[in-house]
């Protein structure tokens, strides 16, 4: 019990990363791997873990959006600078 949430969180992280890898294998869009990076997926999982029992989902949704918009902006800006 001292390892509260560690087992399930570890397994959840492994499952999400597996699912990401599977998704990339079946996708023919080269941008996907850069946008949906392992960092972003990990950050999303952290947020998921934070609010799984929370009533107020809007706070977490705001955090998700901020992280996604940041990532999208980074990728688009990087793409723009390369072009």
């Amino acid at each position: 019990m001292s390892a509260e949430s560690e087992i399930s969180e570890t397994e959840a992280r492994a499952a999400v990363l597996d699912a990401r890898a599977q998704y990339l294998d079946t996708s023919d869009d080269p941008e996907v791997s850069s946008i949906v990076s392992t960092d972003l997926v990990g950050e999303m999982l952290d947020l998921a873990w934070l609010h799984q029992f929370a009533d107020d989902r809007t706070v977490v949704q705001r955090a998700i959006r901020e992280a996604v918009v940041d990532r999208v902006t980074q990728v688009i800006d990087l793409k723009g600078s390369l072009e």
């Binding site: 019990m1 699912a19 998704y23 873990w49």
Partner: protein, 658 residues
């Protein structure tokens, strides 16, 4: 979550206010309450449950009315107030949860007559009423509380899980998945859906503002509306299905309790039907008997006729012998007559003396007298005629048929009486039960099963429609994202949510499988520690979290004793607590009821590993302090005894055992 103090006020058998410390160090995490039956052990478990979730459960797992929770003596004194305060710590914060129920006017009849006041302080700050439930659920969600606060007598609920996959799928599996953290993935997946919809809305609005390709935007709008409508419908159907499944479970439990009564009622009906069938058979036998008698009217005198024949045959033999004797006498008479007329003996030729002649005269007279009294040939013929006539009547063929009918008639009568007596005994047992209400319950159960099936079918159809509609929406949104003039960031943002949603959706199945393996491994490990049979080495888990016992050769054990079921259930609970996303105190009421001494010892030795705070409520039949305390070693932090003051019969008080 660690419980610090529990304060009861007029709750169950606890009159007035009683405050108990539950604070223990993880190095000695065990708290024991000793109490005999009816002394209020389950009430302590219920006090915690009621304070946290406003629900107290009886032994059948049904919600107890508030009128049953208020202390009887307090209620007799018109003091209809009861309350529980729970002080606990969680993630470094101190929580004080107070719940009080008070009758609003006069003697309450049901829960509606009570006013319930709940207050929660976290680190001394009062929380808003509307936030209390959410905060408590975030500490120890009600749906997973059954794995922390459980009644040993209700372990059957978990044992059913091990057998009835279909039912487990509806109720307990969801709770198990909740305790393992699966909602984390499903909730964020839902978040991605909502955020994607919001991003696409912004994207469409931008397009519409530019009045470019309004048709695609309108199609997207329509597809979104249709998708949302299907989603809403699905949500309603899922709520409906859950309600129906809950109702099905409630009715199933009721039916289970009435199963014996129902079986009796069904047996009475069967016995009555059998009785009627036997009456019919007996009627047929009776009719056949009457028909046989009408044709063979003489059958009733057969026995008499047979006796007469027997006697007549004896008379006939006697008469025949008499006729033969008479013939011999007549020969002797003729010889004697010749002898008495003088001359030598006709047999030997010797002279017969005068004294012998006198004797011969006497003999002659005697023979003549005998011949006069002997039956005539006519009498013999008459007897022969009688024998012939009676022999015809005494033919036993039809009589045997009738005898067989009589025996069958009597046998059927016995069978009918046996059934009537048995049915009457069962009716007496049923007299205290409303058989019609039970039949009605079965009818309701069948109806709810049918409704749940219909809802489930509709959900499957709607899920298919939703999947199709989402595919269509993705295609339209793909077109929209590539429209010139639209904000590329908004389109990319929406697409990212779509991909994240799919990734997390795929991850859920993988996570389920991984956690199942973790639970299986932990449960097997605990099982090996608890079970005293070395050949039983592992548990396997199915998709519904049902557990099977396996031997060291890999064979599945198909027959399990009640004690083994309890050990398997405890192994599952231990494994779930080991893998849970939340820590909580384990409160076990009457946990050793079905265990033999050897297994009880093993479980006691294992208990301190179950969690940082384990409270168990035991009675002397399952735990003898002098004998069993040693198994817990130095792991016992607190011991309490529940006792009744001498002058009170229903009031319980608590004292610390030193």
């Amino acid at each position: 979550m660690r419980l610090q103090h529990l304060t009861l006020n007029n709750f169950g058998p606890y009159l007035g206010e009683q405050r108990l410390s539950l604070s223990v160090d993880p190095s000695a995490p065990i708290v024991i309450f000793y109490g005999e039956n009816l002394f209020g052990k389950t009430t302590l478990l219920n006090a915690i449950r009621w304070c946290l979730y406003e629900t107290a459960l009886d032994r059948r797992g049904e919600r107890m009315p508030l009128t049953e929770l208020v202390n009887y003596e307090a209620a007799d004194a018109k003091n209809w107030v009861t309350g529980v305060t729970l002080e606990f710590s969680h993630h470094g914060q101190t929580f004080v949860l107070e719940r009080q129920a008070q009758a609003e006017a006069g003697e309450p009849l049901d829960d509606g007559d009570f006013r319930i006041v709940t207050q929660l302080r976290v680190d001394g700050q009062y929380k808003a009423q509307q936030d209390i439930k959410g905060i408590i659920d975030s500490v120890l969600h009600r749906d997973i509380s059954d794995f922390f606060l459980f009644d040993g007598e209700m372990l059957g609920r978990y044992e059913e899980l091990l057998h009835d996959d279909a039912r487990a799928a509806s109720v307990i599996r969801d709770s198990i998945e909740q305790i393992l953290g699966l909602p984390a993935l499903s909730m964020i997946q839902a978040d991605f859906g909502e955020l994607e919809a919001a991003a696409m809305k912004r994207h469409r609005q931008a397009l519409e503002a530019q009045r470019r390709d309004a048709t695609i935007a309108r199609r997207a709008e329509e597809a979104t509306a249709e998708r949302d409508s299907i989603k809403k419908n699905l949500e309603e159907l899922r709520v409906l299905l859950n309600t129906e499944l809950g109702e099905r479970e409630r009715l199933r439990l009721q039916l289970q309790r009435y199963a014996e009564v129902q079986a009796d009622a069904e047996q009475v009906a069967e016995l009555e039907a059998e009785g009627e069938a036997l009456e019919g058979q007996r009627g047929s036998v009776s009719a056949e008997r009457r028909r046989t008698l009408s044709v063979n009217w003489w059958i009733p005198i057969i026995a008499t006729a047979a006796e007469r024949v027997r006697r007549a045959q004896l008379d006939l033999v006697a008469a025949s012998e008499e006729v033969a004797a008479s013939a011999r006498r007549e020969v002797e008479l003729a010889q004697l007559k010749a002898a008495v007329q003088g001359g030598p003996c006709p047999l030997c030729g010797a002279d017969i003396g005068q004294d012998h002649v006198a004797q011969l005269h006497d003999r002659l007279s005697s023979l003549e007298a005998d011949l006069r009294s002997s039956p005539a040939g006519a009498q013999l013929a008459s007897l022969g005629a009688v024998v012939d006539a009676l022999a015809k009547v005494a033919d036993s063929g039809p009589a045997e048929v009738l005898l067989g009918s009589d025996q069958e008639y009597r046998r059927l009568g016995i069978e009918i009486r046996k059934r009537k007596r048995k049915a009457e005994r069962l009716r007496q047992r049923l007299r205290d039960h409303d058989v019609e209400a039970i039949s009605s319950l079965q009818y309701s159960y069948d109806a709810v099963v049918e409704r749940a099936r219909a809802a489930s079918d509709q959900i499957t159809q709607d899920e298919k429609r939703l999947s199709e509609k989402e595919g269509e929406l993705r295609r339209i949104q793909g077109q929209l994202r590539h429209q010139p003039g639209a904000n590329p960031r908004t389109g990319a943002e929406a697409r990212t949510y779509t991909i994240l949603g799919e990734v997390f959706g795929r991850a859920m199945n993988g996570f389920r499988d991984r956690m199942r393996i973790q639970v299986e491994s932990a449960a097997s490990e605990i099982f090996r520690q608890l079970i005293a049979a070395p050949d039983l080495t592992s548990l396997s888990i199915n998709e519904q979290f049902g557990l099977r016992i396996h031997t060291d050769t890999g064979r599945e054990l198909t027959t399990r004793s009640a004690g083994a079921e309890q050990i398997v259930a405890l192994s599952l609970i231990g494994a779930l607590n080991h893998c849970a996303v939340r820590e909580g105190p384990i409160v076990m009421d009457t946990p050793f009821g079905r265990l033999d001494r050897r297994h009880r010892r093993r479980i006691l030795e294992y208990l301190p590993q179950l969690g940082p705070q384990v409270i168990f409520l035991v009675q002397s039949g399952e735990f003898e302090r002098d004998r069993d305390l040693a198994y817990l070693g130095a792991k016992v932090g607190l011991e309490y005894e529940l006792f009744r003051p001498e002058d009170r019969s229903t009031r319980t008080e608590v004292r610390k055992v030193v």
